[in-house]
């Protein structure tokens, strides 16, 4: 969507961006779970963020996340639990939402370095590292800092609370890598 990259961005890339956004939104159709003391639900949409980053690469991945946010802002109920509208951007989870695009970018960026590895096992491990770094560390960094800032709870407490997400997020990361590696055996997707 950026004008400099417009020349390199074909309709097929746009379609993949739209597809990535659609994937994230479709995962929102699965109801979220609210646990613990944090006002942040466990959702499958972060699985979508990891998937689009790892599959489509940094640019298309990040743009897919931004596309979802644009639709959220437009008021469409596309976040998990059917939430949407500018109200979301006044809520406690906005840090995570804003971290989606950087997270997908980080996953894709690292995956582009990792894809040169020839042995599937090593590549898989490198993909996992990329997914964990981008899809968990970067994502939570944004979410935690924002939450701590708006809720005046100290950062350590928020971090402790978000440990509740860790098992789920690790499962999502492994799932992402398993799916992408099998897809890669079928199609070659140049990351962009």
């Amino acid at each position: 969507m950026m004008s400099q990259s417009a020349a390199r961005f074909g309709t097929r890339d746009l379609a993949l961006v739209g597809l990535g956004a659609g994937l994230i939104m479709a995962l929102g159709a699965i109801p979220p779970i609210v646990v613990g003391v944090l006002p942040v639900p466990i959702t499958l949409q972060s699985l979508g963020v990891m998937l689009v980053g790892l599959m489509f690469g940094p640019k298309r991945g990040a743009l897919a996340c931004l596309t979802v946010l644009a639709l959220v802002a437009a008021g469409l109920p596309v976040l998990a639990g059917g939430r949407g509208g500018l109200a979301v951007f006044a809520g406690p989870t906005v840090g995570y939402l804003l971290a989606w695009a950087p997270a997908a970018y980080a996953v894709g960026f690292l995956a582009m370095r990792a894809e040169a590895l020839q042995r599937p096992l090593w590549r898989g491990i490198a993909y996992l590292a990329a997914t964990i770094f981008g899809g968990i560390i970067v994502l939570h960094l944004g979410g935690i800092l924002w939450l701590a800032a708006v809720s005046h709870i100290n950062v350590a407490t928020v971090m402790l609370g978000s440990l509740a997400f860790l098992p789920g997020d690790l499962i999502k990361a492994v799932l992402t890598v398993l799916i992408v590696q099998r897809v890669e055996a079928m199609l070659t997707l140049p990351r962009l």
Binding site: R12, L19, G22, P31, V68, P77, R83, L86, I179
Partner: protein
Amino acid sequence: MIGAVRRWGASAPLVAVPVGWKLALLALLGASVAFIDRPWMLACGVASAACALMLTGASPRALWAGLKGTTIIVGCIGLFDYWSHGLASAAAVTTRLMILIGFAQAVTTSSTVPAMTAAIETALRPLQWIGLLDAERAGLTLTLAIRFVPLILDEIAAIREAQRVRGLDRSIVALAVPLVVKIILRAQDLADAIDLRGPPPRQGRQPVAVAASAESRAQRRAARRACGAVPYDVSALEVGGGKRGDTAP
């Protein structure tokens, strides 16, 4: 979900309202509803959301079908809030959510997808003026994103149907892999169809003149990208192309 929502005939009052206004109103509401806490204001909000839903002209059954899932989740959130903050807070939180969701549903039910993305496209125009964005292509991307949600859900249903008819396979990966492969291929076919059926791309973006005379690989590649050539098997067409077909710059 969106896109799969039945849109009613042009006779309903809300259908006639330009989509841009509806979206702007929704955005305004989204920004302000969080600051409403007086019970009578919330009650007014609920009433007007209900009015908006009625003005779409859709049947109550169809509306409920669209709202059902969300209502259940909002109920869960309400329960949790009741447990942590008490009844008053829970009532306010759920009411606010329902007001927003009601209005959002009213807007989506009474607008067509193209109209909605056209409105967003218009809203993005200022960004194009400062050179940040190509509003037309951004609009197309949004359209596609909205289009893909029901498509993905359909595809999931189709795969599950096929799996049910042919035997059971419950693992998530066994569902996700064929799903992802299929929708990627579908996305690329759709992109081709858009190129073939769609509007003529604007002047200047397509390197027609360059590509016609150019011999350099890089320029050919740029042209191919612009034409939406097959990214996943570019290597198959190129002698000595990279094994994994990475054409990323």
